[in-house]
């Protein structure tokens, strides 16, 4: 039955002390065979299952997840959404995603709390100015809302920012008004619930151990709940995608590193937009609870520890305190790391591979959250049709042989 959420259902459940809410999805035992198995129950994986069922009419789908839904990078990022990427290929992909975000709450009838409060990317030197202005122009040519803000305009939008009295003064910024933030859990839960209603089996606490192939065709996957046969497998396991690919004998151009974030104690509203700075590496927004959500960088070395080095957050906090002296006395509540899979060109891989029926959606590196619905949508197309959607055709594995890279190191924002 389709679950409806409204002010009335909220009021009704408030009267019963919120104990009568129906379960959002079933927790079935896995069947022996599925048409499609998605490995990874984050936003991208659940979204892929949702679009496979909704747009491609597939019925027999499972999503397997080693922990709990959205417990990986979907629940660990800083939820920034924007589409101001430099190259046409990426601009189309991220803009496709942004357009889906804009309608997602009503499509899922589940509030993903997408708040289009604008995203600012700061320039701190001559080179930044040139590079960012070039990106603004490229965005405009692709029909993406993006413009240049002078220092005075920045000061008006974010009065707490120290623009002059710091080592790398703020000289201007790009601004995308349609960018913003969303609720990270909601996207996973919303997709999960609606996919489940269409018959997708969502299997948590089910770790994929090995992808099994035979004569270049997919057989299935060994999991902690036994061997599951499948016609097609989509791997959307972020940092662990490389490990699973290896088990099928595929080498991917990915390096896994911890990316950290931290939140402060909650305070009254003080910053009503998202401000990112790649040059000094500090980006911040304020959550609806009032916490400052601060994104730090990746470690320089490969690691799967979901923790990250202290020097990384030290650097970020140093930049934060210089940019916003008013935050200097604040306490940080929590810090955590997620394992991101970084591609040499800072662009994702949404592609089939040498093995029939095996598909990868990975390499999102430090900025996959914004792309969740778009990535899921085109990945579902790729799996269903056995060929890429026009939007993701550039993000194939062949580009590492042909050399046709989509170099987004500038727009990806986090230095790596």
């Amino acid at each position: 039955m389709k679950k409806k959420y409204s002010i009335f259902s909220l009021a009704k459940n408030a009267l019963s002390g919120h104990k009568e809410w129906p379960k959002m999805w079933r927790s079935p035992e896995p069947r022996e065979f599925y048409d499609v198995i998605i490995i990874g129950g984050g936003g991208h994986g659940l979204g892929t299952a949702y679009y496979l069922a909704k747009e491609h009419g597939l019925k027999n789908i499972a999503v397997i997840e080693k922990g709990w839904l959205g417990g990986g990078n979907t629940g660990r990022n800083t939820t920034i959404i924007r589409s101001n990427y430099l190259w046409d290929d990426s601009a189309h992909l991220y803009e496709h995603s942004l357009k889906l975000w804009e309608n997602l709450s009503s499509e899922l009838n589940y509030n993903v709390m997408f708040s289009q409060r604008g995203v600012m990317n700061l320039a701190h030197n001559e080179h930044d100015i040139k590079e960012i202005k070039r990106r603004v122009s490229a965005n405009n040519l692709n029909g993406i809302d993006s413009f240049w803000l002078s220092k005075e305009e920045i000061q008006k939008k974010v009065p707490i920012m120290n623009t002059d009295n710091l080592r790398y003064p703020v000289l201007g910024a790009s601004y995308q008004p349609r960018g913003g933030v969303a609720r990270h859990d909601a996207i996973a839960w919303g997709f999960a619930m609606r996919a489940d209603e269409m018959g997708v089996d969502i299997i948590q606490n089910c770790e994929a151990h090995q992808i099994r192939t035979k004569n270049g065709t997919i057989e299935g996957v060994e999991t902690s709940k036994g061997f599951l046969r499948a016609n097609k497998i989509g791997v959307v396991a972020s940092g662990h995608t490389g490990v699973l690919a290896e088990s099928a004998g595929i080498r991917l151009p990915l390096q896994s590193k911890p990316l950290q974030a931290l939140v402060s104690e909650p305070i009254k509203p003080i910053i009503d937009t998202v401000v990112m700075s790649s040059a000094v590496h500090a980006y911040v927004s304020q959550s609806d609870k009032g916490e400052l959500v601060i994104g730090a960088g990746t470690d320089s070395y490969n690691s799967f520890t979901q923790r990250g080095g202290f020097n990384i957050i030290e650097d970020t906090i140093r930049a934060m305190v210089e940019l916003y002296p008013v935050f200097g006395k604040m306490k940080m509540l929590r810090q955590w790391g997620g394992i991101v899979d970084i591609c040499p060109d800072a662009s994702p891989i949404i592609s089939k591979c040498d093995i029939d029926g095996l598909f990868f959606n990975c390499g999102w590196g430090t900025g996959g959250f914004k792309a969740t619905p778009g990535s899921a949508n085109v990945f579902a197309h790729t799996i269903a049709k056995n060929e890429p959607h026009q939007i993701n055709s550039a993000f194939n594995l062949d580009r590492f042989a042909s050399g046709r890279l989509v170099d987004e190191h500038g727009a990806a924002a986090v230095a790596h």
Binding site: K66, E207, A208, H209, Q210, S224, A237, H240, G242, V243, L244, E246, S247, R251, L252, P253, L254, Q255, S256, P258, S300, Y301, N302, S303, F304, T305, Q306, R307, G308, G309, F310, N311, W336, G337, P344, F400, A401, S402, G403
Partner: protein, 116 residues
């Protein structure tokens, strides 16, 4: 943060070092025709194991020498560091603590930082 044992200077704080990625990567033999794919693999693909990993470090703010290292990427524990001209240690000498390919070690990850 890591304490890295530079084979020339001894144990030093990680902030003195820079990471150089996978060690012992061999450039394809130039004496034969190399296809785009093989060349692409050499340029772009590096090992990315969860577990034992050969890697390079350089003591940037110290002796500025490069050296190699075996580290467990699931716990960040550094098992051995050795000079570039020393023989690559056999990974069988070390115990991998990851039980399943994508599983967590009992100690050392962000999820389990202390002895349970």
């Amino acid at each position: 943060m890591l304490i890295i044992n530079c084979p020339y200077c001894g144990p030093r704080d990680q902030s003195e070092f820079s990471n150089g990625g996978e060690a012992h990567v061999k450039r394809p033999d130039g004496s034969k025709e190399i296809g785009d794919r093989e060349w692409g693999e050499y340029v772009f693909i590096r090992a990315n194991p969860k577990g034992l990993f050969y890697e390079r470090w350089v003591h940037t703010h110290g002796c500025r020498k490069w050296f190699n290292c075996v580290r467990d990427t699931s716990t960040d524990k550094i098992l051995v560091t050795y000079k570039l001209d020393e023989k690559k240690p056999n990974l069988n000498n070390f115990k991998s603590v990851v039980k399943t390919p994508s599983g967590e070690p009992e100690v050392g990850s962000g999820n389990f930082t202390v002895e349970k």
